[in-house]
Amino acid sequence: MTLTIGKIASAAQVSTDTLRYYEREGLIGPTSKSRGGYRLYDRDAVRRVRFIKQAQNCGFTLTEIRVLLDLRAGEAACCGDVRRFSLEKKLQLEAKIKAMRTMSKALDHLIAACSDESRPLDDCPILAAFER
């Protein structure tokens, strides 16, 4: 059974633009074409699109999702490979969170230093700190 891009979009709850983007990125592809030239996909495409969306929700980029899809399709890989890949993603996310916390703390100091809102811009301690 083959499906049009519209049917895939509706079943996976994404826009057709998103599907075309996935297709340009090589994450999904049509299995055949209709007589009218429309691209047709098999049922696995819906499963694949759902997989991509769930992985994106966990912070994986499309490039990383391609690796996950390859791992899923490969016979040489095992669950430990996926686990290690996911742990590496978690380490990256935690590193970003740590960097953002540092940024947030830096802003706390600047905001605290700017207690008088009526000061002229020339005396703004936040702007002055960025000029240093």
Partner: protein, 86 residues
């Protein structure tokens, strides 16, 4: 000198060559402290050290290898650090 290997259980890449590296460290550095850290248990410390890929290796709290080094690379690094410490 403290050598820390960050790993995840069940990871073949993490286990391959680990014993050789440990033996190299123990042979070259008399006072070496060899630690194997499961990232799941030591996540905050791994992030603090800057570990982003597994396995990874830190020496004296500094991330030196983002994957397991070859015995030669490891020997060179240890030798350099020992010379620096003299």
């Amino acid at each position: 000198m403290k050598v820390e290997l960050f790993y995840t259980p069940g990871c073949d890449k993490c286990a391959d060559g680990k014993e050789t590296l440990k033996a190299t460290a123990e042979r070259l550095v008399p006072d070496v402290v060899w630690r194997e850290l499961n990232v799941i248990d030591e996540l905050d410390y791994a992030v603090e050290v800057g570990v982003l890929t597994l396995p990874a290796m830190a020496i004296d709290g500094e991330l030196v290898f983002s994957s397991l080094p070859t015995p030669r690379q490891f020997r060179r690094e240890l030798t350099m650090r020992m010379k620096r410490a003299v």
